[in-house]
């Protein structure tokens, strides 16, 4: 990342949330690096690694399956389509490495998911691990630390 482009990084995080909320899922999917990952651990402080299950641990293929499914008229759980809204605190730039072109941003958030007269409220911290690829910024990893990740949860159908 170039020096002085803090605003670009912060705007990227805002933009990423907005694409989800506006259901512009193809554009959102395109923000991820080819080996990008969308991860929501099941426990607080869960270490890296596939030996513990998670709430989300999606590569681009799994994200694509989710996106295409949402458009499938036989997605019965979407008979009433879900909607969501992210409310973000200003992202903080936790680290940045000009040489490798990477940056890590930390963003406390609230996430609302609504479906058929019911609204669920979630909160937590999102970590965006960004890198440069093909002349643009892409997501290497979006890690979502959900405050109530260990709770008995109802269906979460979109993307915190």
């Amino acid at each position: 990342m170039q020096a002085g482009d803090d605003r670009t990084l912060i705007e990227f995080v805002y933009h990423e949330a907005r694409l989800i909320d506006e259901k512009r899922f193809d554009e959102w999917h395109d923000l991820f690096a080819d080996d990008g990952r969308y991860w929501m651990p099941l426990t607080r402080g869960q270490p890296e690694g596939a030996g513990h299950t998670s709430l989300f641990d999606e590569d681009k293929l799994l994200l694509r399956i989710r996106i295409e499914r949402l458009r499938n008229p036989k997605s019965y759980s979407q008979a009433y389509p879900s909607s969501c809204q992210h409310i973000l605190q200003t992202p903080g730039i936790e680290s940045r490495d000009a040489e490798s072109g990477t940056a890590v941003l930390r963003t406390p958030f609230m996430y609302l998911e609504y479906q058929q007269d019911r609204q669920e409220v979630y909160g937590g911290v999102a970590w965006h691990h960004l890198k440069h690829s093909g002349g643009r910024i892409v997501i290497a990893l979006k890690k979502i630390e959900l405050l109530n990740c260990e709770a008995a949860l109802p269906s979460i159908q979109l993307f915190p």
Partner: protein, 445 residues
Amino acid sequence: MVSSAAGYRHSAAAIRALVRDDAVHRDVYVNPELFDLEMERLWRSAWTYAGHESQVPNAGDFITVDIARQPLLMLRGSDGTLRVLLNRCAHKGAKVVGAGSGNCGRVLRCSYHGWTYALDGSLRTVPLKSGYAGTQFAESEAAKGLWPVGGVAVYRGFVFVRLNRTGMSFEEYFGESLSSIDNLADRSPLGRLEVAGAPLRYMHNSNWKMFVENLNDTMHPMVAHESSAGTARQLWKDQPPDAPKPMVIEQFLPFVSNYEFFDKMGIKIYDNGHSYTGVNFSIHSSYSAIPEYAAQMEAAYGAERARAILGESRHNTVYYPSVTVKGAIQTIRVVRPIAVDRTLIESFTLRLAGAPAALLERSATYNRVINAPTSVVGHDDLYCYRAMQEGLDSDGNEWISLHRNYSDAEKAEGGLPGIYNGTSEVPMRGQFRAWVAAMTAGTDA
């Protein structure tokens, strides 16, 4: 609402009338009184799953769990014995242990008046004991300490309890159905399982029986899961046949197998509501081999026995009513009814002790993709349960058809256990036969 106001508590006849040989009355899913009676009669007389012994390896280790509205404490004693006690202080009834898991040290101590208990549940000390001099305290219920549950059985590491003091023995209750737990544990080269981390906890706003029935319902995957597994198939269809399948594709695709596949899979029925799908093969049969693991199994068991263990590919085994086991992918789903229309499903990933990490990764992936509150498979299942819950709680036909492949031969004494075609509704009929027996046992006609 036309739910029966018959007053089920005092009428075994009214309960019997809910279950026909080939149909069941909708009240069993929507009537709160029946739910109360299920907790008191069915769940307390059944052997239900409490936990796994790997969760409490050392003296003082505990987990807490609620079964049929009873707060329980599963605890490893100083003598190494695993006990399950009512988590309820003998003094004023406060829960003695507040945490979900941990180590309590050498004693349990109530947070209110400091009564302490040894790890076997016996009352050890009461502060200012002189205050009880000259009273009947020593002979009272309070002096007896923490009550044990009626029965505890540890089978291949799985801990089951019977809350009632008397009833069927563990062996009689499960019988030959325990072979599914054997097959799961045998898949470890060391014959041992460990719970791998925290469970996925998915709250269902539907009756517990809908979930349990669904585990052996092979007529729904190709319909309910077409949007998820069918989408995966669609996205994969242009790949050459020999392209290596990503793990999730390998796990998704069999869900949209055709009716013939599920029918030929076969179902095995046991007494007391237990059953499993996948007698001949299952949706787990075609996973890619892990050569290092196969070699370990051969070394541990010999070629023939290893082949027999891994050749079993049971789909879902229902240990009625509280837990379902998936040996071929090493996950279990624990059923915790909360209200007539509220059920917590906890899905655990198991590690095969001594096996390569790739197996645990496969189990953890499957558990996430299929059983998480974020699962696109789970979303559509729960949608269907909820749709039934709301539909059944309305006027209309009061009877739910269980006619598929019914035959009068099932009615004969001992006529139910056996092997059936995979799309039969015989598992549900077997569950309701066990349900009626437990719900009317010991009551007047």
